[in-house]
Symmetry: C2
Subunit: 340 residues, 2 copies
């Protein structure tokens, strides 16, 4: 496709400062001729970082934003107090047609709130959802991706059946577009596979999803199925998704601690680990989902990608590319059609 | 202590049949002079298994029950249809003072329902909870146990603040008695550590637990803290606990699959794994909580232990010993005092 896509990148508020964000944008400018990046934030700081990079100046612009949202703030108060913070300025660029998608590595709540203050929710979508990819044993789609999608993982707390149905449609659309899976297998996370299992909202969502033509709904999955990766898209309310996702992160840390501990202890173990390095890498790759770039905020008429707060330049570049792919393939339109 | 304790063991309905249950009871009869076991179930089948074991006949009795509850039944219907099934007969032995505790490796829902039909709920406890130990990185208590307690993991679906407070008190009492932890650290599982985080029920339970003297309430923990084992007792509603526990089981399976896969593939890897065997054992031990015996059903005036459906003889023996320890240390009284 020759269409030029412009991405508004909130260059402030990540854990590692603006450096990796500017570097990721600079890398991308040298690679892909179809993408422009607008870096939004403190002009002086961004310029300084940019001066240290090789980049294609025709594909990078800076828009100054005088304020930014700290990582550990209360989102509602911070956005109220700083109407010209970088994430809001970036969102307005998208709303007003100067850019096609919003990408931020800042405070998650602030990104979701900025989107909901600035963009329109898609028809039939009562609440937005944050989706995340996580590592699985089974592979998915034509590229054998070792991960699946889960939503909501934190934009909501408890959900109605209607919300869960919306999440299923949005997750299916995103998986189709980003992972190129023709008919993604979608399931509700519950405490048993039978249609009668789960909270009333889950039971009702189950019944409704069975009636929908456009979605490959395969029923309920259980906790066991999460690491196995039985399905392509796991749907749950935000509170549960948040706990599950953080738990996977915790498991990853523990496995890595144990490996380090073993490594330090004995020469024979060290030798053993070296011999096993390929296998250990496989385990580590499976448990390190930070490499997979950004998490989409779904439900708005514009594309919003939340990159991890600790993203390095490569992760930022991946998040920008994911955002561009979502724009190119009309994610919002795909969700709209799914909700009809 | 010289007090004789009698345990009613439902000898039917486990995944592996009566064999491991009878064998576990036989082992225990040869070991511990203070414990008697009543095997409840099909007299002929139990006698046949018992004939193959060495055991102390003065410490084992059989009580015939003509029916049993299959693993894959609907508990309410099964108990209705079989009023003399082994789990109900065993529960009645406890209710009527012929035994001090109920132990079963059968259908979990049927065990909880049998208890709730036969026993009294403790004052202030609106709903019973199923608690489970699970493996953690950090150690707990005077014996450095590599596991923590979580409840509820399946007796309830959604919970009120009152229910969660009850679970905290019950989990604290159980941890004190079984793991000998003086003041177990108890936390609510939520989506953030701040007191304002979580569902309304969690926020309210948080506020109430802060006011309680008898319990070491340390606030909220997040998903990350589960595998780390930051606290001794994790409190959550049953739906969430069920998903979390099954997910840990799934992670364990995936790690084990990857290790087997690596093992099969290459001589060098095989050699590496052999050298690493101690480290691998540690990971496997951490992820195999089946060794820790039974899961208590808490909230009744009698001790109820649910052993895993796939328990081997050693696991059955451990579950019986846990039940005896709970009786000896007056678990019900401890919970009663905690609720005052």
């Amino acid at each position: 496709m020759s269409q030029t896509i412009t991405l508004a990148l909130d260059a402030m508020g990540s854990d590692a400062g603006s450096g990796p964000l500017v570097e990721g944008a600079a890398q991308l400018s040298r690679e892909d001729s179809g993408l422009h990046v607008v870096l939004v934030g403190d002009e002086v700081e961004i310029s300084e970082h940019l001066a240290q990079q090789r980049y294609d100046a025709s594909r990078i612009a800076i828009v100054h934003a005088p304020e930014s949202v700290p990582m550990d703030c209360k989102p509602a108060e911070a956005l109220e107090a700083s109407p010209d913070c970088s994430v809001l300025v970036a969102a307005r660029l998208v709303r007003d047609g100067h850019a096609d998608a919003l990408v931020s590595a800042g405070n998650t709540g602030a990104v979701i709130l900025a989107a909901s203050k600035t963009f329109q929710r898609l028809p039939g979508i009562r609440r937005a959802a944050l989706a995340a990819v996580y590592p699985t044993e089974q592979r998915h789609g034509p590229r054998d991706d070792p991960f699946a999608l889960m939503l909501d993982v934190g934009a909501t707390l408890t959900c109605t059946a209607e919300d869960l149905v919306g999440f299923a449609v949005m997750g299916s659309a995103y998986s189709r577009i980003i992972s190129d899976i023709g008919r993604p297998r979608v399931a509700l996370l519950s405490n048993g596979s039978e249609p009668s299992k789960g909270t009333p909202a889950i039971v009702e969502a189950h019944a409704r999803l069975l009636q929908m033509q456009g979605i490959e709904f395969v029923g309920n999955v259980e906790g066991l199925d999460i690491p196995r990766g039985t399905v392509d898209v796991v749907v749950c309310e935000g509170f549960l998704g948040n706990v599950v996702l953080k738990m996977l992160e915790g498991v990853s840390e523990v496995v890595s601690d144990l490996a380090k501990d073993a490594y330090a202890r004995k020469f024979l173990w060290r030798l053993g680990l070296t011999m096993l390095s390929q296998g250990m890498q496989q385990i580590r790759r499976m448990t390190d989902w930070k490499q997979y770039g950004g998490a989409p905020v779904l439900g708005f008429d514009r594309v919003v990608i939340k990159a991890h707060g600790r993203s390095n330049a490569r992760a930022v570049r991946n998040a920008l590319k994911v955002a561009a792919k979502a724009v190119r393939n009309d994610l919002a339109g795909e969700i709209r059609r799914g909700m009809e």
